[in-house]
Symmetry: C2
Subunit: 284 residues, 2 copies
């Protein structure tokens, strides 16, 4: 057995303890100090990541203590304003990856779902139906494979979905150069230029806490693409966005993000596809 | 509709573009520049995270060009040594959370699986059986609920598992203070002191690339606890370890990590529990 604990012998205890590996060469050799007693988070959570609505209200008193006339005009106390701007509900967002599709298609229109892809979409729709979540909104990317997936899913869901929307922002693309880079996947620089800000805009458009007017928790479905989902997950969880390629997602898999009223975000499942029999699983 | 794109109007383009929010107050207002064209990763991937075996070999030539006598004694060329130290296989590691258990138990022994917890363990065992992965090793935490889960799972798996081990390192605990902190969960400082290094040791013991002697890909199961799994996932993916509480995991759920020979790590699913009917899902 390859002993893993042996290198511990050379770990210096304490903050910034450095492992002097045997012939370290060019490798980084700093030990993570996450298990020391005086641990300080390297990156504090940004509570205002989505422009917390309460940060958008205009108080009646200026920082220097004088009255803010423009705010007074609105005839509302600061407490009332804060109440009006405070989020009350939790958003559950289910990110679904499209089913398997014809990789040989020359255009997006020709990149239609394979028969397996259609079955995956059906199975995912059936699972969401079985879970019986009160889904009120479904948004899908305008690319053919996502559109087909969404439409098949909806056929198998008995929920009355109030809002069904399409979005170009959710189309597949190259969000940012991944770290670590991947040998086989090297988009041209112009692709990041074309797609990066658009996928970031998708994140800002769809991932945010509930508007203050929303009083009950909501369940929403977004049908889109692996890169878009992975980038959104990194951004929403405030992990380094360039880490998006450290995840891979099965076709038709369901990822669930939870956005609390206080701006806290968590993930309950990533790439769930246990609702599919083993012979229906695919990654392409 | 709560417009999310409006604030974009005040985003300064370029690296470090700063959003001057309306009455920003104490909130952090730095815009993420992840969609700019001159993106640089904030944290390069540490390829040597698990003490890459190839960094442990002793070359026959010293950095100053002179011969290294102690290395020459071993009668092996540098190429042979590198070959001997090079990883060849991929490890697939399935992290299973135990089933629901009796929260009222005063001692670990009394915190046995509930009837639902037993069913979850059975369903997860059946799923792993159905997936028919060539599982060769199963390790479980010595806590009662993990032990029971592992034993029920194994009853339902036809795989001949060569190695079945138990580990105290995998027991539940408080890895490090979470960021963001959670109101309802505030362990005493001494708990982090007692558990932190031990859970980090669990990570270092079980998460590493395949030993060079391993020539075929392997599938291994680790049955343990939510905090342990979440901390391991953050560390393995090189996301900030204090972010472990940004994930929540269903009982009996399966998380799969993939460790490539080059030291790349990715996650294929987190908290998968789609193999359970909706009335068998639980989070406690």
């Amino acid at each position: 057995m390859f002993s893993r604990l042996r290198p511990l012998g050379v770990v210096g205890l304490g903050v910034g303890g450095v492992v002097v590996g045997y012939l370290a060469g060019n490798h980084k050799t700093v030990a993570h100090n996450s298990w020391t007693t005086n641990f300080k988070p390297t990156t504090p959570w940004d509570w205002n990541w989505d422009r917390d609505p309460s940060s958008l209200i205009e108080p009646t008193t200026k920082p220097d203590g004088t009255l803010n006339k423009s705010a007074l005009k609105k005839n509302e106390t600061d407490d009332e304003k804060t109440e009006r701007a405070t989020c009350k509900a939790t958003r559950y967002i289910l990110l679904v990856r499209h089913g398997q599709y014809n990789l040989d298609g020359a255009t997006d229109k020709e990149r239609t779902l394979t028969q397996l892809g259609e079955e995956q979409a059906r199975l995912t729709g059936e699972r969401l139906n079985e879970l019986d979540l009160p889904i009120t909104r479904l948004v899908y990317s305008t690319m053919t494979r996502a559109t087909q997936t969404a439409q098949i899913m909806m056929k198998h869901m008995k929920q009355q979905i109030d809002t069904v929307e399409t979005s170009d922002l959710l189309r597949e693309g190259a969000p940012i150069p991944p770290e670590p880079p991947l040998g086989g996947w090297k988009p041209e620089r112009h692709q990041f230029f074309a797609d990066g800000a658009r996928i970031e805009a998708a994140f800002r458009s769809y991932m945010h806490r509930a508007p203050p007017s929303q009083t009950t928790d909501s369940y929403e479905v977004i049908v889109c693409h692996a890169n878009v989902i992975r980038y959104i997950v990194c951004r929403a969880l405030q992990f380094v966005p360039e880490g998006w390629l450290r995840m891979s997602l099965h076709n038709g898999s369901v990822t669930m993000l939870v956005i609390r009223p206080d701006g806290r975000v968590s993930i309950r499942q990533l790439g769930e596809c246990g609702h599919m029999p083993p012979n229906k699983l695919s990654l392409t």
